[in-house]
Subunit: 335 residues, 2 copies
Amino acid sequence: MKEYKLALVGATGVVGREARKVLEEMQLPIEKYVFFASSKSAGSKIEFMGKEYEIQELKEDSFDEGFDFAVFSAGGETSKKFAPIASTKGVIVVDNSSAFRMEKEVPLVVPEVNAEDIEWNHGIIANPNCSTIQAVVPLKVLDDKYQIKRIIYSTYQAVSGAGKAGIEDLENGIQAYTNGGDYELAKFAHPIFNNCLPEIDVAMPSGYTKEEEKMINETRKILGKPDLAVTATCVRVPVFNSHSESINVEFEKEFDLEELISALKEAPGIMVENDLENHQYPLAANVTGHNEVYVGRIRRDFSVPNGINFWCVGDNIRKGAATNALQIVKYLIEH
Amino acid sequence: MKEYKLALVGATGVVGREARKVLEEMQLPIEKYVFFASSKSAGSKIEFMGKEYEIQELKEDSFDEGFDFAVFSAGGETSKKFAPIASTKGVIVVDNSSAFRMEKEVPLVVPEVNAEDIEWNHGIIANPNCSTIQAVVPLKVLDDKYQIKRIIYSTYQAVSGAGKAGIEDLENGIQAYTNGGDYELAKFAHPIFNNCLPEIDVAMPSGYTKEEEKMINETRKILGKPDLAVTATCVRVPVFNSHSESINVEFEKEFDLEELISALKEAPGIMVENDLENHQYPLAANVTGHNEVYVGRIRRDFSVPNGINFWCVGDNIRKGAATNALQIVKYLIEH
């Protein structure tokens, strides 16, 4: 069996750190790992699979030594510069940034949904936005059965989605609340502790944020429905990790609610927790550390002929980033 | 000018305490105030308008001494028992509980929306659910201009809506996080710190929570549209005070977005903060302590012909409870 070489770019960030954990759990047939970061982190040591590794500085010649795969989680600018360099050297890049997601020749992949799109890659495969990934896993199941007509997203997104600085803002807010004192915001425009911020990523001319536009456009691309009616309101909440989403869906076809729930239960990558009377529904604090997408509060929306509301929770750093990217690597290895 | 007598029932609870502040600010022509609570709080002393008052125990003969108005904020059971007693003795009751809201002969009133319904009261006027009150203030303006066809609510509700025990759960969660240690949940089925709970009030046979059914049914009653298409997902978030709401609305009529925003700006009781580029939108932490409903993130929903998304924040203890109830008292005094 062939053994592979994998580069992890952005290995010391929030996603990179989790990717190392997921790699340890997945036990892929990879013989060599190299961990890259910016010059700031280069030289520092990490433990991985019981061995010590030194973080390497990412440079233009970093991919000369030959890799099979590179997973990029170091932000859009790093991806824009280095992903094309890697791919021209024959490395297949799985990119976590938004840099290439909407490019026509770049597949945008959630393995449970459109793994087949991996096949036509030209060296770069894009990992979708975290809030989109967790939503499309159940939505694909429902689209196949009942044909989705319209989606309305309202999100409850964790601070880890904004990286270390986002986590720091919540942590500092909690500490200032309990111990007094002031702090400077590292990431958000307003304090996130004791607040809900309806702004994620930058403002766009449409009046939507970039995060909202990503959810709308990426949902269409992944489901292969370029004209699908989708709208979104993306909100940051004072939760450390795992995004929650209130999703309203309208279908073309009629459905039986029990059958719909069964279809979700049978689908890979989905856990159904749907027992309101016994207070069972997905919760951010419980989903953290899991690779699956959790759904619950599944109920008919009586305001349209064929609609439902449901609640969807995913670990945005795992399934929303690291896990999904490494599932793509796994698919590449197995096919 | 006549001077009135007002009874405040549940004077020591979260809403009762805020009602005392609002009364101090409003300076209504009330000559006598009596503060009632359960036997547990009776006898304790409070400061009000510079004078000391003793909390009275609420009893069946409490209304014998003659009141013009009684504001009830002591939960459904107290209202069910004592509000009819008060009203048969000629007291006009403004009831904050859900006990009478959907009764045909009880007006359900948000003064900015349907003050005229106060006129046909039969002794009890119901104050709507907190999350409904803040939503219908802007929705009424939009319904009058563009005729609402469908509403989809997703809420981000503060723990103060669950009273002292709800506040305690968040406070204890924060303390346990910073200082270690365990705590017992006083109110919620799960920890609210670092979590979003898609369950407010009890489960109903429909698969919705009672809070969600309240939002649906009370919106219809207040707007006077019994068949309006409305759906809701109600979620508790780790915020101490002020509810935020993501509201999607579809209209029968076409609209011009600038005109729509102007209509909201001109309406009484509404503050518009709608400048995403400059990070200006309503925030729970900032709205706390204010009586107005704040709206922002107002933008066209491109997934339907005539729709918008907007973000709505209100102090659930003020406009969502105490302020609204006392605005009803003020209307009664002035008319």
